[in-house]
Amino acid sequence: MAKGILKVKAKSSGGNTSVKMMAKHVMESGQRKDAKTGELIPALFLQTLIVKLADKVVFEANLGPAVSKNPYFAFSFEGGASGDEMTMDWIESTGKTGTETAAIK
């Protein structure tokens, strides 16, 4: 399992938590050709990202290969306090999954 592909900045203020996150991922679109062989490079992208706070889903993204390399997301939700831990589950197009956590500042 690739470890720590997500960089998360979550900040709580006035009862709301705003999150900015970036995933380190190539997001290969499956449209590019290998410069040497001329063959298509197979698609490899993050397919699903689910963010939870205390087992409640606060954000979910289903992605296609049209999302830029190193995908970036910004969103905010009600609740969450400084020190709370969010859980992020991600699924790659290959079926590979990962779970990471990040604390709210």
Partner: protein, 153 residues
């Protein structure tokens, strides 16, 4: 190939295994990444696959923020904001891309209908944000010019 008992049993067994796998991974089952929608080559087909409808109503309560001219099609910042209540999901479609559906964001109750991300655009085309709220579809669109395409090539 004739359908005899053996093939039927086999088919059921494979089907069962697939269902079993999805039960083992409830997260995936819940997320429901729509393969048909993401692989559709045409915007209408993608909308139909995702929403069972391709006619969202244009709404001033949906705001799509995107640059007028994107210098680099590989990284086009897009923000979708909606003031509608009961937003369930927000999706971004890029008409001229090989697969128009770029991303679908599920907005659970308590999460603001305000999401930013970055997408790839193959060429200058129309970007459409579709917001599903209370079971209905609302949209906002914007033409974005791309100077350098972002889908390889």
């Amino acid at each position: 190939m004739s359908i005899n008992r053996r093939t039927v049993v086999k088919a059921i067994a494979t089907g069962g295994a697939l269902i079993g796998a999805s039960v083992l991974m409830p997260k995936i089952a819940f997320a429901a990444w729509s393969k048909d929608a993401f692989q559709a080559k045409e915007q209408t087909a993608a909308m139909n696959a995702l929403f069972d409808s391709a006619t969202p109503e244009e709404s001033a309560e949906v705001t799509l923020k995107a640059p007028d001219i994107a210098e680099n099609g590989a990284v086009v910042p897009v923000t979708v904001v909606s003031t509608l209540s009961g937003v369930e999901s927000m999706s971004i479609f890029i008409e001229g891309n090989p697969s128009p559906l770029a991303a679908e964001f599920i907005i659970p109750a308590g999460t603001k209908a305000d999401v930013s991300t970055r997408v790839r655009m193959g060429k200058s085309t129309k970007v459409t944000a579709v917001v599903k709220a209370n079971g209905k579809l609302y949209s906002a669109a914007k033409e974005v010019k791309v100077t350098i395409g972002g889908c390889g090539g």
